[in-house]
Amino acid sequence: MPLIRRAVWRRDGEANVVDKARARAEEALDGLLFDGMSIMAGGFGICGVPEHLIAVIRDSGVRNLTVISNNCGVDGAALGLLLETGQVAKAISSYVGENKLFAEQYLTGKIEIEFNPQGTLAERIRAGGAGIPAFYTRTGVGTPLAKGKEERTFNGERFIMETGLVSDLSLVKAWKGDHEGNLVYRKTARNFNPMMATAGKATVAELEHLVETGTLGPDNIHTPGIFVDRVVESHAYPKRIEKLYTRPRPETAGAA
């Protein structure tokens, strides 16, 4: 005799989950924002950025934010929106090269930037989400970014200690997600999103497509729903390109 009779607690084929989907971006962030909080936001440049959720943060007026993001976007887009309004006190980032306002606010002392090597930033977030408080890396040894960090030698090579990172809120951008919060990313829009999803005390995912639970295929899921608290579908995606490069199409035979 089976110990659990499945039919008692759910009907076959029916998803047995709390619905994490919210109808609007404002609802998805309701009750999660406060002054002085830390926010992780996925994206590389403007690729894979939860831009509608960032717009809600701008409109909410929360201030004194610590943002953790690879680039802080570009002028006028992505986290660049929060720089324009002066809501960011500190950024933990690897690169400000394409964001004039970001570089200018740093050089004039209006904003504090903690520069992290890109791979160190990715690994700190991965570690934070996985409950690892610190790790050793070769990256940055002998550079200004090693200052004040513990150094150890393993197998005759020098390494510095870096700490894991967590956030009060992680905002991620996924291609598809279901009502349980399972996520699938698309191509290079994946970037920092999977690690950030694991490292937030609360994680909210912005989706291009909200799909029925059970349709993503369990083997295809990049981020399991346990890491995600709320999802919201954003319509009419204005996907932008930072640097459009193309090549001419070769002449087809007989075209001339």
Partner: protein, 214 residues
């Protein structure tokens, strides 16, 4: 007649070997992909999470979700795979990438590299460069020999904040090629661009070097 930017990219491409996994930086290093020698099959890695980076798309076919680390639109190849930034830097830090070709602001005789900020003036941030020079097996720098002011970028000691210490294997400029061997021996001049003399390159190079022209 010094080398052009295309010549420098072409010279750097000669360092590529069949079967290599290679990371190309922004600027002249990106152009290296145009000069991969005949018979050399390699896979280009973009640290934003793309292994097997293809050429720019045809007009009208760009996908905003397919970009390289320079944020340029690119295309997929049959062998392409995508991964997270953490996995991508696992490839880099873990020593799985054979060669990185990147630009620099200064390179020192001991293989030190500086390319991420000029204090008080300009800051780009380290991006992936610190991880690349720390983890990739062979690091080739392609850069202009001198600053616009005329000051040599090949220096006895870097005055700019370092990206990595003892990390550069080779430097290619418009004037010639130096073997730095990560500072394990004194810099050696391996090649001169056509028409460039040892006297001229010596005058424009701050660090001392041996001449080992082949």
């Amino acid at each position: 007649m010094a080398w052009t930017r295309e010549d420098m990219a072409m010279r750097a491409a000669k360092e590529l070997k069949d079967g290599f996994y290679v990371n190309l930086g922004i600027g002249i290093p990106t152009m290296v992909a145009n000069y991969i020698p005949e018979g050399v099959n390699l896979i280009l890695q973009s640290e934003n999470g793309m292994l097997g980076t293809g050429p720019f798309p045809y007009e009208g076919e760009a996908d905003p979700d397919v970009i390289n680390a320079g944020k340029q639109t690119v295309t997929e190849l049959p062998e392409t795979s995508y991964c997270s930034s953490a996995d991508s830097f696992g490839m880099i830090r873990g020593g799985h990438i054979n060669m990185a070709i990147l630009g620099a602001m200064q390179v020192a005789a001991n293989g030190d590299l500086a390319n991420w900020m000029v204090p008080g003036k300009m800051v780009k941030g380290p991006g992936g460069a610190m991880d690349l020079v720390a983890g990739v097996r062979r690091v080739v720098v392609v850069m202009e020999h001198c600053e616009k002011t005329g000051a040599s970028k090949l220096v006895t000691e870097c005055s700019l904040p370092l990206t990595g210490a003892n990390v550069v294997d080779m430097v290619i400029t418009e004037l010639g090629v130096f073997d730095l061997a990560r500072g394990t021996h004194a810099p050696a001049l391996l090649e001169l661009a056509p028409g460039v003399t040892v006297e001229e390159i010596t005058a424009k190079t701050q660090f001392a070097f041996t001449v080992a022209l082949t």
